[in-house]
């Protein structure tokens, strides 16, 4: 019963939040200077009042703003996000096209960030103030502070262009055609096709952009893991366990790390939410057709149905991730379940 109430509250919260986001973004896109007609029609077409009028009528831009809002919300209730002014295609299908590319890359990056971030954080904590700790801290600070577009060019230049260690931009090598779309994620779709070489090729194309995107979150995770682990290691129950003769590895893995990971989960959740919103510059450099590029082009074109669509998607991402993180708190820390 409690669980049902909890779920119901969450769903109502989700609906209210999505409504708020849609309204806010609609108002903002109308307030900021930028006319979709001027942004999308050519200089020549803009000189023809007939073409301009037809264009405005087609996208409902000739209606008063309030009417546009009511119409948009009415369609939204029927899960219709409208038609993109830039591409002339349904926004939902445009998001369905570019979101899987972002999801695939974001999950790969967050796994890299989480695995290496936690690993480095633990090493740094148990070797506190050693040379290794200093190196790990320097790496994590660099990861947090390095501009992603510059890092992207750097890794592409060295690992692809100069030393030919990793494949170049794009999602697949030229020798492979895109797999039939099931999930839109090439690794998974290739596996569903039973084409292992193609899946491995797609996986290898994730490495460089994944590394670039992971760098920032990995730095944060390393620092958070280190500081929390150090806090936990100084607690009484750890001292007691150590006094009872428990080995260091067992002490960290079974007693300390679980407690230290709760704040790390929050960082991972926020990092994933950030990555799922798309990263324009990295996507551009790695020729990755994700949500970031779509959002960027939509803003340039004052394509408000697409801008709202992306905003709703990002809001939804955070809502879902926060819920999952809340559940995982309970899995890691039984005290949370009791509360």
């Amino acid at each position: 019963m409690e669980q049902l109430k909890f779920t119901g509250r969450r769903l109502i919260y989700l609906a209210v939040m999505l409504f708020g986001v849609a309204t806010l973004v609609f108002i903002l896109t109308k307030m900021i200077p930028g006319d979709p007609t001027v942004a999308n029609l050519s200089q020549r077409a803009l000189s023809d009042p007939e073409v301009v009028a037809a264009y405005r009528a087609k996208y409902g831009l000739d209606q008063p703003i309030f009417v546009q809002y009511v119409l948009y919300m009415k369609n939204l209730l029927q899960f219709d996000l409208g038609t993109s002014i830039r591409t002339n295609k349904p926004v939902l299908s445009e998001l369905a096209r570019c979101y899987p590319a972002t999801v695939e890359l974001a999950f790969f990056a967050i796994v890299l960030a989480a695995v290496f971030g936690i690993l480095f954080g633990v090493i740094s904590a148990i070797r506190r103030n050693s040379m290794l700790d200093q190196v790990v801290r320097a790496v994590s600070v660099t990861g947090v502070s390095i501009p992603s577009f510059w890092f992207a060019l750097l890794v592409l230049y060295f690992f692809y262009y100069k030393f030919h260690i990793f494949p170049g931009p794009g999602r697949l090598s030229n020798s492979f055609s895109a797999p039939a779309t099931v999930t839109g994620m090439y690794v998974l779709d290739s596996l569903l096709e039973g084409d292992v070489p193609k899946a491995l090729d797609a996986l290898s194309h994730l490495i460089l952009p994944g590394l670039v995107l992971a760098a920032f979150t990995m730095g944060l995770i390393t620092r958070t893991t280190r500081s929390n682990l150090l806090d936990v290691m100084s607690m009484d129950y750890i001292r007691t366990a150590r006094a009872k003769g428990l080995g260091r590895a067992s002490l960290i893995m079974h007693h300390a790390l679980g407690n230290a990971l709760i704040p790390v989960l929050t960082v991972i959740g926020l990092g994933l939410g950030n990555l799922l919103g798309g990263m324009v510059l990295v996507e551009t450099i790695f020729n990755w057709p994700g949500v970031g590029q779509f959002a960027y082009e939509s803003v340039l074109s004052a394509d408000f149905p697409s801008i709202i669509g992306v905003a709703l998607l990002i809001a939804l991402n955070y809502m879902i991730i926060n819920t999952v993180v809340d559940i995982l708190y309970g899995v890691i820390d039984p005290r949370v379940r009791c509360q």
Partner: protein, 553 residues
């Protein structure tokens, strides 16, 4: 459990790393085919669906982004014509960049005495990729559809009042006015001839309400429906387009079986992928990235001027132009600009046209003399205009770029040049979509630097810069301000004979050489890098790159 989970993740990461080690062995700017072909064997082993290259004659091209459809009825941006030209054909075509249009699907053509009717006889035996024969009904459908979709390219058919098809092989165009550019307009990608039966089956219509009822775009974004040398077999927006040879092509094709067109907006990425052999042609190189390839083996570079022109506009209407509406001040500015300096900013291949017509167009008088700039003369002109002590003026500039060159960079150079004659320029930045576009269109900008991409490949596009023309009016230059020059609009439009056209165009260039509110400062360059295994790669203003002329050596 946690240990197992971590172990699985680590294993995945290690596996990914191992896979990646097989990354790219085709490095070092080899003259071998793009990477896809070399890995063809591997992909064959994985099954037929993995092999995208379709043999050894595959060419990989990288081009820029900025478009979202390849439906000919809507295409207007720079790159879609590259695809449309390979998959569709028009009545006429430019077989080289600076030539006049020549018949393609047309067999012959004839203008009426009054130049108001154009009769085109179609080639016989032309079939679409579907196997359907191409007839005059397809031509009518395609042109009417473009017109009635009322998209960006609809203007191209504005001088076509009506069309008729007396028989399957004849199309008669009735024009609203004599139009010496009509053959060039008929080469335009948006007027490509579609397989009307296939397009209609998939929601296409040429009815007057096509702008709201036509639904064929979704279909034409998945495959093509033309008679061209290639068929589009895949289009993944913002990622890649795949073209394969049209098995029913009626003409003689090249030896390239397949094109993989990668959409790579970043010039550095293109430079790297060209160097490593992953692509064969890089369309969006910049001066910097070209320099990186200076020592690359088996890479050829083309630097050449496009017909996209950067110009200075000084409003003739004193209300908006203030001092720059004075013809003497305009001439002083014209004399003060350092054109060779502007060319350096834009990069190798840039040139300054003689006058209103770009170099490369029929009738062009070439380039403005290199020694045209004269600061002392400019100062004297300014003094003569009553501004011996100098003047202050706002130069409004938008956030747009011209073939990758920021207009703000040009504005900065103009500011520096004019400072030498005592004109203090204050640069005012304004986004295109947030004010600049409206002001530019309404003719309320006083002094600006802007660019003009040719709507279609014909010198008549420049007639809009004449007094009373679309762009002329944006500079407050009404026909009554220079009736003689304004009259040249009609004279040139009516000159369907090439010699008459050239004479009319030369007259315009001489008349506007030192007259009027426009200074044609630069023709922006294009930089293309390509693998030397290819033959026939060339800059193309109408098609960006004409894939139907490329062969593998």
């Amino acid at each position: 459990m946690k240990k197992r989970f971590l172990a699985v993740i680590l294993s995945l990461a290690v596996a990914a790393g191992c896979v990646a080690c097989g990354g790219n062995d085709n490095a070092g700017g080899s003259d071998s085919p793009a990477q896809g072909e070399e890995t063809g064997e591997t992909s064959d082993q994985s099954g037929e669906t993995s092999d995208q290259t379709g043999g050894s004659n595959t060419v990989v091209v990288a081009m820029g982004a900025g478009f979202s459809t390849v439906d000919p009825g809507y295409v207007y941006e720079k790159y879609p014509p590259l695809i449309v030209n390979a998959c569709y054909e028009n009545l006429f075509k430019f077989y080289s960049n600076d030539s006049a249009p020549e018949p393609c699907l047309a067999e012959s053509y004839e203008f009426s005495e009054d130049n108001l009717t154009l009769t085109v006889k179609l080639k016989e035996g032309v079939t679409f990729a579907s196997g359907n024969p191409m007839t005059s009904a397809d031509v009518l459908f395609s042109i009417n559809r473009c017109k009635n979709l009322q998209g960006n390219p609809a203007f191209i058919a504005e001088t076509i009042e009506s069309m008729e098809a007396p028989d399957d092989q004849t199309v008669v165009f009735h024009l609203t006015q004599a139009d010496s550019a009509i053959l060039s307009k008929l080469t335009y990608s948006s007027l490509a001839v579609l397989d009307s039966a296939v397009v209609k089956e998939n929601g296409g219509t040429d009815a007057e309400d096509a702008s709201t009822t036509d639904t064929a775009q979704a279909y034409l974004d998945t495959t093509s429906a033309g008679s061209g040398m290639y068929v589009m077999t895949s289009y993944i927006p913002d990622e890649e387009v795949v073209l394969e040879k049209n098995p029913n092509y009626w003409g003689e094709g090249t030896n390239v079986d397949k094109y993989i067109i990668k959409i790579q907006p970043d010039a550095n990425t293109q430079m790297m992928t060209l160097s490593t052999g992953d692509i064969d042609v890089a369309m969006n190189m910049t001066d910097d990235t070209i320099a990186e390839l200076a020592d690359a083996q088996n890479v050829e570079i083309i630097n050449a001027a496009t017909k996209t022109v950067g110009f200075v506009m000084m409003n003739m209407n004193e209300t908006y132009g203030g001092p720059v509406s004075d013809p003497k001040v305009q001439q002083a500015i014209r004399k003060a600009l350092d054109y060779s300096g502007l060319q350096v900013i834009c990069g190798e291949g840039t040139l300054t046209p003689y006058s209103l017509i770009q170099s490369g167009f029929m009738g062009s008088k070439g380039e403005r003399p290199a020694d045209y700039t004269n600061v002392e003369e400019a100062k004297a002109l300014l003094a003569e205009a009553g501004y011996g002590d100098g003047l202050d003026v706002d130069l409004t500039v938008s956030d747009l770029d011209m073939e990758g060159i920021l207009l703000t960079d040009l504005a900065q150079k103009i500011k520096d040049d004019l400072a030498q004659i005592g004109i203090n320029v204050n640069i005012v930045s304004q986004p295109w979509a947030a004010g600049y576009g409206d002001a530019y269109r309404d003719g309320t900008l006083g002094f600006t630097v802007m660019y003009w991409g040719t709507d279609y490949n014909d010198p008549n596009v420049q007639l809009e810069f004449l007094p009373g023309g679309v762009v002329g009016l944006r500079a407050g230059w009404t026909a009554d301000m220079n009736p003689e020059l304004a009259a040249m609009y009609q004279e040139t439009m009516s000159a369907t004979d090439n010699d008459d056209r050239i004479a009319a165009l030369e007259k315009i260039q001489d008349a506007a050489y030192e007259e009027g509110p426009f200074i044609m400062a630069v023709q922006a360059p294009a930089h293309i890098g390509y693998n030397t295994r290819l033959d026939g790669v060339a800059i193309s203003d109408p098609y960006a790159l004409d894939l139907t002329l490329i062969n593998i050596k």
